[in-house]
């Protein structure tokens, strides 16, 4: 190859990389500064809050150099709209969150939280949490320097997140952890490492959301050594497309192991139903089913009752297209070339192949797949030496999971 052709080749590769990176992030809202005195008023109102209080945040941008926090049950914080009332934490000097809540019967609505040093909104422990029409954004676009989580209820119960937007989180835009009875709907996650992540959570419905331009679109994860193992998650009627943003998560975080171009990822969960979604053009593959083993975990890192194997995962009735053509990382690229040739693509479903040798209910299938272009069992347990495209084992049907009823009347 002459020097000239080499230069051309590099130029083509570079421009291809540029295309792969996807569209650039454009900040959402320009909001004029509000009355600066209101920032302190809000802080005091959070301190003085009584159950039943509705704290109205007027239109405007309010700056904070420290976190805000709320510890009183039954409080609503309501702005004039996610593009009108903005709590800005640009220049934050202290505190690990924008707003930290330790309370039940909490509602945050019609408001934005921007540029917090750490998490945007963290709700730690509480029941009956409502997050509605909220925007959390890091306005500079994807960056490892951004805070980890946008909307982050953890150890909560009866959680509704709707009509909300999360942009630019260096871990997950909408992240529900160690919770129970959860609905995430009509929301949008963009330019995060993980768009929407449901982790160690029992009973969740994730539907009518849009996840695009993330590294991974919708993640259903279980991590070892936590208070509870999640399961019974339904992911349906979502649009999960072009989640091809390069992974900008800090190494060592679980999401750092998610390849760019992942649509829906299920990791070590049982009882997950993925149906009626539009999933397309996710460059690694549209659906990944995996165990913690393929993300580098060892048995001794888990508590002994942790079940690392994904079981009873049901995929059917989705509209799947594109994707799989440019998997992230040398291993996956090599796997693609070895199995499908230079110009081929990974099929709609990629499974790492770790199967429970002792399933709780003998005979339970680990994966039931319908309406997919194919599946590649990557043979993780065999050192990825004998990947298999055989579909026969996945022709099964699982009972449907019940809908989540938050009983809110």
């Amino acid at each position: 190859m002459s020097r000239l052709t080499l230069v051309f080749a590099i130029a083509i590769v570079l421009s291809a990389c540029g295309r792969d990176a996807g569209p650039a992030h454009v900040p959402s809202a320009q909001v004029a500064a509000g009355d600066p005195a209101y920032a302190e008023t809000l802080r005091t109102r959070l301190l003085d809050a009584k159950p039943g209080d509705v704290i109205e945040v007027p239109a405007g941008r309010y700056s904070f150099d420290r976190s805000l926090s709320l510890r009183v049950d039954g409080v609503t914080i309501r702005g004039a709209g996610p593009d009108k009332s903005v709590l800005s934490f640009k220049g934050q000097k202290a505190g690990a969150e924008g707003l930290l809540v330790n309370a039940s019967n909490f509602t945050l609505e019609n408001i934005a939280i921007e540029d917090s040093k750490g998490d945007g909104l963290k709700v730690n422990e509480g029941e009956h949490i409502t997050i509605r029409n909220v925007r959390v954004e890091w306005t500079g676009g994807p960056s490892t320097k951004n805070g980890a989580y946008g909307l982050y209820p953890v150890k909560t119960r009866n959680v509704l997140i709707e009509n909300s937007v999360a942009i630019g989180a260096s871990d997950a835009g909408i992240y529900v952890g160690q919770s129970r009875d959860v609905i995430v709907r009509n929301s949008r996650a963009e330019f995060n490492v993980a768009g929407i992540e449901i982790e160690n959570t029992v009973n969740a419905d994730v539907y009518d959301n849009v996840a695009t331009n993330n590294t991974g679109g919708i993640l259903v994860f279980n991590m070892p050594a936590l208070s509870q193992q999640g399961g019974a998650i339904r992911v349906f009627k979502n649009k999960v497309f072009k989640n091809n943003t390069a992974n900008f998560g800090a190494k060592g975080t679980p999401v750092a192991s998610v390849p760019a171009g992942s649509g829906v990822v299920v990791n070590s969960n049982d009882d997950v139903e993925i149906f009626d979604n539009d999933i397309s053009d996710n460059a690694t593959t549209n659906i990944i089913i995996s165990s913690v083993y393929s993300t580098g975990y060892k048995d001794e890192q888990a508590n002994k009752d942790f079940d690392p194997y994904p079981e009873r995962i049901s995929v059917y009735g989705n509209r799947l297209s594109g994707g799989g053509d440019a998997p992230d990382g040398l291993d996956l690229k090599a796997l693609k070339v070895a199995s499908y040739g230079l110009t081929g693509s990974l099929p709609d479903v990629l499974w790492d192949g770790y199967r429970n040798p002792k399933p709780a209910k003998p005979g339970d299938p680990n994966l039931c797949l319908r309406d997919v272009s194919g599946v590649l069992n990557a043979d993780g347990p065999g050192g990825y030496k004998n990947p298999s495209k055989d579909m026969a084992a996945y022709n099964c049907t699982l009972p449907k999971l019940p809908a989540i009823d938050l009983k809110r009347g």
């Binding site: 420290r66 926090s69 510890r71 690990a96 805070g147 980890a148 060592g252 975080t253 679980p254 001794e300």
Partner: protein, 382 residues
């Protein structure tokens, strides 16, 4: 007695009454309700003759290993109403009676030539405070804030008071404050610090040691932290013994029979493991415990935890975000540079550092201790 003589006598009587007031200040006043605007409204501390003194019945105390707060020195006190006392418990905070007022005054030794309100203060990690002969010499220290923890009928409440530039009074700052400081070490090197006075809710971030109940609890007032001697004005004595003599404590065993946290720097009397665990317990264990706000991480650093994985050994991070520092495990035995625990303690970035509040600079000596502890651990994470 003529009228004029009567008037003079009355006048004298008044004068002597006032003089008596001057000799014996008003006692500590427990406010069962409300949020007094001034620290002096409580009468726990008083400023006189360039000295900060304790009121009658206000008892100073120290912890074996204290919590780190930007190299601030701390004067801790406890006061209880007459006729009531705290009940000893072996593990948790003592059970204090309604009316108890705990105070913690944060201050820095001054650098020679610097005014009381100068940003430049001494960075010293000395175990010894400047509290001597029952007083702080205000010509030698810069007072920052005094936090009160008050036991009311409905539970503990926390009130942060910030001192004025003249060091004569501290005012309630429920919303907290940032105080710009420049910490100067013995060699004259300076490091800027943004000292954070917590807002009242943030007090709960540490003192809400049971996140479900949300009730505030004292952190340092536990047997293992208090099990030590103190140099009282009347002489050195064990804190339990002294408190019992005052009627402040009931049910305590002999000091030898009570749990005792190590002094984190006392390598002569405590092993590296004991010192590191004591340091992690007081600095991290109130959140990182089975019931604390940090229980979401699965990392428990309180004194009671023994399981290596729970203590971080080869444990993978949860929701640590960029707090991982690109490292994979909380503790990698023998390899502090690969351990997330060290990274987060060694960071001053609010989104990565631990603890999340309470410091803005790195506690170098504390990090060194934890590094040594991890370096001494055997094995690997595979």
């Amino acid at each position: 007695m003529t009228g004029s003589r009567l008037r003079i006598c009355l006048g004298l009587l008044l004068l002597s009454a006032l003089a008596a007031c001057d000799r014996a200040p008003a006692p500590v006043r427990f406010h069962a309700q409300g949020q007094p605007e001034l620290l002096s409204d409580w009468g726990v501390l008083r400023v006189a003759d360039h000295r900060l003194r304790l009121n009658d019945g206000v008892v100073p105390y120290e912890l074996n290993t204290p919590l780190f707060t930007d190299y601030a020195h701390k004067l801790r006190t406890v006061w209880m109403p007459r006729g009531v006392s705290a009940r000893y418990t072996a593990d948790g905070a003592f059970e204090f009676p309604v009316g108890t007022v705990v105070s913690k005054t944060f201050y820095y030794p001054r650098v020679a030539g610097e005014a009381a309100d100068s940003e430049v203060v001494a960075r010293s990690d000395s175990a010894e405070g400047e509290f001597r002969d029952g007083a702080l010499d205000l010509d030698r220290v810069r007072l920052i804030e005094t936090r009160l923890l008050v036991r009311r009928q409905e539970g503990w409440i926390a009130l942060p008071y910030v001192w004025n530039a003249e060091q004569t009074e501290a005012k309630l700052m429920r919303g907290g404050e940032l105080v710009a400081l420049s910490l100067q070490d013995a060699d004259g090197k300076r490091e800027s610090a943004t000292y954070q006075v917590p807002d009242q809710n943030q007090c709960g971030g540490c003192h809400g040691t049971d996140i479900k109940s949300k009730a505030l609890q004292p952190i340092g007032l536990k047997a293992r932290h208090l099990n030590r001697d103190f140099d009282y004005v009347g002489g050195r004595a064990h804190q339990f013994v002294h408190w019992q003599q005052l009627g402040y404590l009931q049910g305590a065993p002999t000091p030898a029979a009570a749990p005792r946290a190590a002094h984190w720097r006392d390598s002569a009397r405590a092993s590296l493991d004991e010192r590191a665990r004591a340091y992690l317990d007081i600095n991290c264990g109130h959140c990182h415990s089975p019931k604390g706000p940090g229980n979401t991480s699965g990392l428990w650093l309180d004194a009671a935890t023994v399981e290596p994985l729970r203590l971080g050994r080869c444990k993978l991070p949860i929701a640590a975000g960029k707090g991982t520092g690109d490292r994979r495990h909380d503790i990698v035995p023998g390899d502090p540079d690969a351990s997330i625990l060290v990274y987060r303690m060694d960071s001053d970035d609010p989104s990565a550092m631990m603890p999340e509040v309470g410091r803005s600079v790195v506690h170098r000596e504390g990090v060194a201790l934890i590094r040594d502890w991890i370096a001494a651990q055997q094995g690997d994470c595979g």
